[in-house]
Every structure is written in C-alpha cells, then in structure tokens.
C-alpha cells in the first residue's frame, strides 16, 4: 500500500494519546517487514474494512500495558492487567483506530470502518497479518514502548 496512507494512523496515535493523559508521544522507528511478526506481552487486533482493508495490531509489554492503563485511569495503581485495565487499553486501541478512520475520510478515503478489539495476553508467539508487507512503527508514549503494526491494503 501507499506509505503515505499510514500518516492518518500515525496522526491518530499522536492526536489521541495526549487526550488520555500522556505527556509525550514520540515516533521512534519505522520498519517495513513481512506479514509475520513476533509478539510478547499484549497484542491488540483490530480489523479494518472499506476502501482500505486489513488489520492493525498494537503491541506492548505486559508491564508497559499496566503503566499505560494506570495513566489512562488517572494514575490508579495497576499491579496486574486485570479486567478494568484490559478494557482501558482496548478502549485506547478502539479510539486510535476510530480516529484514524475519521482522518482517512478527511483525506477522501471514505467508508473505512473498524471491528471491536480482540486482545491477546501472555507469553506471545507469532502473528500473521493479512497482507504481504507490514509497516511497523514504534512509539515511545511517555516511557512506554507501543508498537503499531499496520497490515492494510487497498
């Protein structure tokens, strides 16, 4: 897919996360890889369908996810990724992807919609996204690394 198409997603990350209580959102690296990714900790999958389709997978470590949920919940202590924290980080993924859809539509790419997030939590393994090439962007969100894997095609 056209690499410029990832900008609405990156802008959605930068635009949404500060609203959730994060001070800084910095892009650390961008990489183009194959369809198979390794993951561990937490990986959130959201399906996208419309004139652009595929999946967006958002990954972070379990400890990172706990700190992430804690910030979203106004600093409440999060020792483990319980139901409330899982719900919080799912909301974040949902908000980022929904915001990306709005930005796509502003760019003239209409009718892109998303499915509810499905979370994988554990030792991890591999994930295969439904495109030959995946663009992976690592962000530092305060001190938490958040990986956004974009597996979309037109």
């Amino acid at each position: 897919m056209d690499v410029n198409r990832i900008n609405p997603i990156l802008d959605a990350v930068g635009g949404t996360l500060p609203q959730l209580g994060f001070q800084s959102v910095t892009k650390k690296s961008v990489a183009l890889g194959g369809s198979v990714l390794k993951w561990a900790g937490v990986m959130i999958n959201i399906g996208m369908l419309g004139s652009i389709k595929g999946s967006i997978a958002i990954g972070m470590s379990t400890a990172g996810a706990c700190r992430f949920a804690s910030t979203m919940m106004m600093g409440m202590e999060v020792k483990e990724l319980d139901e409330l924290s899982q719900s919080a980080i799912s909301e974040m993924a949902n908000m980022v992807c929904a915001n990306a859809c709005t930005r796509f539509s502003q760019d003239g790419i209409e009718g892109v919609d998303i499915s509810p997030p499905v979370l994988f939590v554990g030792e991890g393994g591999k994930v295969t996204l439904p495109v030959p090439k995946v663009i992976s962007v690592a962000f530092m969100v305060d001190d938490i690394q958040v990986d956004i894997h974009i597996g979309l095609h037109e």
Partner: protein, 286 residues
C-alpha cells in the same frame, strides 16, 4: 414502567434547570446534577442514573473528556452529549468519546425524549442477531467441516467465552456492520496440520501453509455465517475483515467489548473452537 433516571452534567445552572424541566415534563426523573469533572464520578456513584446528559463546552475538562472519564469508571454508562455545535467533526468526536446520543442546544423537549427512548428501549434487532448467531455459526461450522474436510463433527455449545485460552493457532476475524463484532477460531497446531493435510490432500509444505489453511477455513465459516445472518435481516449489513492469525499456546484471548458465544466441534483431527460476538451499536444521533 418506572421513570428513566437521568443525571445532568452542565456548568451552567440555567442550562441545568432548563434540561431538568424538559426531562421532568417528559416523565423522567432527574436524580443528580454535576457542574464539572470534579464532582462527576462522585455524583454518578451516588445517584446511579440510567443515563447522563452531558454538556460539551465546560471550563476545565470538556464534555468529551468527562464522557471518557465516566466510561472508564463505568463502561456501561450511557451518555447523551448536548451542545450548540452540530457539525460532523463534533459528532465524530462524540462517537469516539463513547457517547450514545447527541442532542443540539437549545434542546427541544420532544427531540431529547425521543433520543432517550431510543437509547433506553431494548434493541430487539440486536437480540435477534445474538440469538440467531448461535444456531447459524454452529450450523455453518458443521457444514464446512463436512464439506471441506469430508469428516463429521460433534458440535456442542459453550457458555460465556469472554475469556479464552489459545490452544495454539487462533484466527481472528473482525466483523463490520450495523453491529460490529469478532470471530475467533482456535485449534491446536497438530489439529491445524491434520486439517491442512486433509484439505490439501498432502502434508502442508510449510508452517505458513498451515496458517493460511486455518485462516481460509475460518474466513469461509465467518463469511457464510454472516451472509446467512444478512439474509435473515438485511439491515445487519455484516461483512468480514481479512483474518489475522495468532500462534502460541496458552495466550489469553479477550474481547472486552463483546459478549461472546462459542461452539466447539470435536472432529477426527481434534477440537475446533469457534467463538463470536457482536457489539450493541447504540449510537443514535438526532
């Protein structure tokens, strides 16, 4: 039927009074009022309303931020945003903040009450989808095991599957439509290899081939099931997004926004687990 209990959030005492009057006239009961994010959660917890009307323009945290905060506190909270602004961007922001409705100021009593009735009435269509999906997914799973693997399966229904542990290979398919949802198809690596061997009529040449056979099987089951649901009710408009495949046993699979149903198929090549669920799309805009 008892009155719908409403909490009003607005920084202006004048607006609160107008809204409270309109609500009371319409048979609702105003059970609490808050003027800012500072008292929002406390009042909400004290009065436990059926729904909240929320002004957007407030000093400090605005209505979007208050809605997000409230929905993090109680994901079941129903918020109707009230604002003099009425443009696409504001509406999109309201949707993304998690509001279930949007009413323009100055509030017309009948419009406000219609939105409230829509938000509060049980959604029969969603109930139908939830009920039909169980039978249809079970039927389509059984049919496609027979068609694609030439074997029979014993299908059993599973109870709530909000939490689920992966057996090894998990295909996730998003559903888009009036009620978005997810399909999760799960099986062991060994079962996936045997299934691929039967479907390909030779052993799979690579792990990637095993993954793609599992993804294709789930895609067919999901696609056919959603088409059958669409035939029962055209306005569902369900479509499936391309599948992602997760590998690695013992990972927990969670669908926080959905009430998942599940069916299991015991086959000659192992147990296949299929879970699915839809999200009640209560977003209503006036």
């Amino acid at each position: 039927m008892s009155a719908i209990r409403v909490m009003v959030v607005d920084d202006s005492p004048f607006s609160r009074t107008l809204l409270a009057e309109a609500l009371t006239q319409g048979g609702c009961e105003v059970v609490g009022e808050a003027e800012s994010i500072e008292t929002l959660i406390q009042v909400y917890d004290e009065c436990k309303p059926d729904l909240v009307t929320m002004d957007i323009a407030m000093p400090g945290a605005d209505g979007f931020e208050c809605t997000k905060t409230l929905r993090l506190h109680d994901p079941a909270a129903k918020v109707i945003l009230v604002s003099s602004m009425k443009d696409e961007e504001t509406e999109a922001d309201a949707r993304h903040a998690g509001a279930v409705g949007y009413v323009q100021k100055p509030v017309e009593e009948d419009v406000l009450l219609r939105v409230i009735q829509n938000v509060m009435s049980p959604d029969k269509m969603f109930g139908n989808l939830d009920a039909w999906s169980c039978d249809i997914f079970a039927e389509v799973l059984a049919q496609n095991i027979t068609r694609m693997t030439k074997s029979t399966a014993k299908i059993t229904e599973q109870a709530d599957l909000r939490k689920n542990i992966s057996q090894g290979i998990t295909v996730v398919i998003g559903i888009i439509g009036r009620y978005p949802g997810s399909i999760v198809f799960d099986l062991t690596q060994e079962a996936a290899e045997k299934m691929a061997e039967i479907m390909l009529r030779r052993p799979a040449k690579s792990p990637a081939e095993v993954v793609s056979v599992a993804a294709e099987f789930a895609n067919v089951v999901g696609g056919v099931a959603c088409s059958m649901l669409n035939r029962k009710e055209k306005s569902f408009g369900l479509r499936v997004a391309p599948p992602s495949v997760f590998q690695g046993a013992t990972n927990e699979i969670i669908s926080p926004m959905l009430h998942m149903h599940g069916v299991e198929a015991d086959t000659d090549f192992g147990r296949l687990s299929l879970s699915f669920g839809f999200k009640k799309g209560t977003v209503l805009w006036m």
